[in-house]
C-alpha cells in the first residue's frame, strides 16, 4: 500500500523502528530505551553494542509494525540509516532492512542520519517552508544546515571541537549534576543569573558560522575550582549553570540568526537532543520573531535519535526516485549532502 514507510535506525545507542504515513504522520515510533522494552528485557538499558542492536532489532521492528497496525505487505518501502555512525551498529540496521525489504519485495532506502534529524520537523501537520535553516544540536553534532530544497542540504557551520550537547554533559559533570547533563543544567539554571559569570563565547572570526565549545568547558572548570577555594561553590551552582548555559545558547542563537539573514530563509528549524533545551527554544523563538520567520522544533521524542525521522526523510528520497541497491553498505563517515545511492527507481522497475 502506498504511503506507509518502515524506518530503522541503529547508528549509535538506540535501536529504533517506526512507521510513518505519507512522510508526516507517525503511526508508531519505537525506541529501545523506552519503558516497555526495558521491562521486556529485564530492565537492561541498551548500550552502544552492536550485539545489543542484534538482540533488539527484530522485536523493535515487530512492535513498530504492530503498534501501527500494518503488515510488511502494506508498506511502500523499508528505510534505514546507512550513516554516519558506528559501523558495527549501522550494519545491524542495514542488514535487517535489506532482509525485510527483500523478503517483502519492497524498495530499500538508505538514509543519511543527519538529514533524518532535519526531517523530524516535517513530522507534523504544519509543514516548514523551504528554503529553511536547521540547527542540529546533540551530543555528537552541532551543525548549522541550509536546506534550499529537498535533497540538497549543506553545512554552513559546525563545531570544531566539542558538540553543544557534549558541552552540556561535561559541564553538568563539572558541576556535579546527574546524567543526562542537558536537562540537569536547564533545570538548575532557572534559579540562577545568566549574567553572574562572563564565560567566553568563541566567535571564530566574523565570517565563520563554525562553533567551538572546548574553551568554555575549560573556563567552567577553572571557575568551579575558584568557587571551591572561595567556599561558595554550592551557593553559586545555579548562577554557574545559568551563565554556562547562556554562553552555549547565545552563540547558537547568534550564528543561527546571522545565517537566517544571510541566506534569506523562510523558516528556522531545530533538531537533535539539545533542541529540547528550554533556554535555547525561548531565545530562538525571540530571534526567529525578530527575523519575521516561524520557528519549528520537534517534540522531545523526535529530537533524540529515532526512526520516524528516518522514515520521513525516506519519503522525500522516494519522491526524488532515490532507492538503494541490495549492495547498500554502512558508511560510518557519511557527510551531510551525500545520500547512500543505489540504482535509480527507473532502473529497478525496468
Amino acid at each position: 500500500m502506498a504511503g506507509y514507510i518502515l524506518g530503522i535506525e541503529t547508528s549509535c545507542d538506540e535501536t529504533a523502528a517506526a512507521v510513518v504515513r505519507d512522510g508526516r504522520q507517525v503511526l508508531s515510533n519505537i525506541i529501545s530505551s523506552q519503558a516497555e522494552l526495558h521491562r521486556h528485557y529485564g530492565g537492561v538499558v541498551p548500550e552502544i553494542a552492536s550485539r545489543r542492536h542484534v538482540e533488539l532489532i527484530l522485536p523493535v521492528v515487530d512492535q513498530a509494525l504492530q503498534t501501527a497496525g500494518v503488515n510488511l505487505s502494506d508498506l511502500q518501502a523499508v528505510a534505514v540509516t546507512a550513516g554516519p555512525g558506528l559501523v558495527g551498529a549501522l550494519l545491524v540496521g542495514v542488514s535487517a532492512a535489506k532482509g525485510l525489504a527483500w523478503a517483502a519485495g519492497l524498495p530499500l532506502v538508505g538514509v543519511n542520519h543527519l538529514e533524518g534529524h532535519i526531517y523530524a520537523n516535517f513530522l507534523a501537520e504544519e509543514q516548514p517552508e523551504l528554503p529553511a535553516l536547521c540547527l542540529v544540536v546533540s551530543g555528537g553534532h552541532t551543525d548549522l544546515i541550509y536546506l534550499p530544497e529537498h535533497g540538497s542540504p549543506h553545512i554552513l557551520g559546525r563545531t570544531r571541537d566539542d558538540a553543544a550537547g557534549e558541552a552540556f554533559d561535561k559541564g553538568a559533570r563539572t558541576l556535579g549534576l546527574g546524567y543526562p547533563g542537558g536537562p540537569a543544567i536547564d533545570a538548575l539554571a532557572r534559579g540562577g543569573d545568566p549574567a553572574a559569570f562572563a564565560f567566553p563565547r568563541a566567535r571564530l572570526g566574523d565570517d565563520s558560522l563554525d562553533f567551538s565549545f572546548s574553551g568554555l568547558k575549560t573556563a567552567l572548570l577553572l571557575e568551579v575550582e575558584a568557587r571551591r577555594r572561595a567556599g561558595d561553590l554550592a551557593d553559586r551552582l545555579p548562577d554557574l549553570a545559568a551563565a554556562y548555559q547562556e554562553a552555549i545558547v547565545s552563540v547558537l542563537v547568534d550564528k543561527a540568526l546571522r545565517a537566517v539573514r544571510e541566506y534569506q530563509v523562510k523558516c528556522l528549524l531545530l533538531a537533535g537532543g539539545v533542541a529540547a533545551n528550554s533556554a535555547l527554544r525561548r531565545q530562538m523563538q525571540v530571534a526567529a520573531g525578530r527575523a519575521g520567520i516561524p520557528l519549528f522544533y520537534p517534540p522531545p521524542v523526535l529530537c533524540t535519535d529515532n526512526a520516524a525521522m528516518i522514515a520521513c526523510a525516506a519519503h522525500y528520497y522516494l519522491l526524488a526516485g532515490q532507492v538503494a541497491g541490495w549492495d547498500l553498505n554502512a558508511f560510518p563517515s557519511l557527510p551531510l549532502g551525500k545520500r547512500p545511492q543505489g540504482p535509480s527507481l527507473e532502473e529497478r522497475i525496468c
Binding site: 548500550e47 552502544i48 553494542a49 552492536s50 550485539r51 559501523v87 574553551g215
Partner: protein, 157 residues
C-alpha cells in the same frame, strides 16, 4: 619516559602535530587526563600531522570518528563507557589491530583490554592554559617513537 609542558592550546596542538608526522600503520596512542586536560586538542594536532584536513571534533558521544589522512585515522573516546565489559562489545579490537593510526581518549578506563605495546600520554593541568604531557612508551617501537619525537621537538627549538 619524556615529560613536556606547554603554555597554550596552540603549543599542545603543535606537539601533537610533531608526533603525528612520525606515526606509522598500526600505531596506538593512549591518552589519559581529566576533563579539560587538552586530550582532544593534542589529538587534533596528531591528526594534522597525519595529513587529516577535516576538523577533528570530539568523539565523546559518537565514540569513534574515522578520518583519512596519510593513513586511516581512528579517533576513539571511551568517556561514556563505564566498564570494560561494554567496550568488549564495541568491536575496538578491529581498530586496534588495523593498519591505521588509533588515538584513544580516556584509555585508562579500559586499560585491561589494551594492547601491551602502545604509547601512553598522560596529560595534566598546570594552570589556566599550561598543560603537562608525560610520554610513556611500552615496547621497542614506541621507545624508538619517543626518541624520534624528542629529537624532533628539540630540533624545533
Amino acid at each position: 619516559m619524556l615529560t613536556l609542558t606547554t603554555s597554550s592550546a596552540k603549543e599542545t596542538f603543535h606537539l601533537g602535530e610533531i608526533l603525528g608526522r612520525l606515526l606509522e600503520p598500526g600505531d596506538v596512542i593512549c591518552l589519559q587526563g581529566e576533563l579539560g586536560a587538552g586530550k582532544t586538542c593534542f589529538v587534533q594536532g596528531i591528526a594534522r600531522g597525519q595529513g587529516v584536513e577535516d576538523y577533528v571534533s570530539s568523539p565523546s558521544f559518537t565514540l569513534i570518528n574515522v578520518y583519512q589522512g596519510r593513513l586511516p585515522f581512528y579517533h576513539i573516546d571511551v568517556y561514556r563507557l563505564t566498564d570494560v565489559a561494554e567496550t568488549d562489545q564495541l568491536g575496538l579490537e578491529e581498530y586496534l589491530e588495523d593498519d591505521g593510526v588509533v588515538c584513544l581518549e580516556w584509555a585508562d578506563r579500559i586499560q585491561p583490554i589494551l594492547p601491551p605495546a602502545c604509547l601512553w600520554v598522560v596529560m595534566g593541568k598546570r594552570g589556566p592554559t599550561e598543560r603537562s604531557l608525560r610520554f610513556e612508551p611500552h615496547g621497542a617501537r614506541y621507545r624508538q617513537l619517543v626518541a624520534d619525537f624528542k629529537a624532533a621537538v628539540e630540533g624545533r627549538d
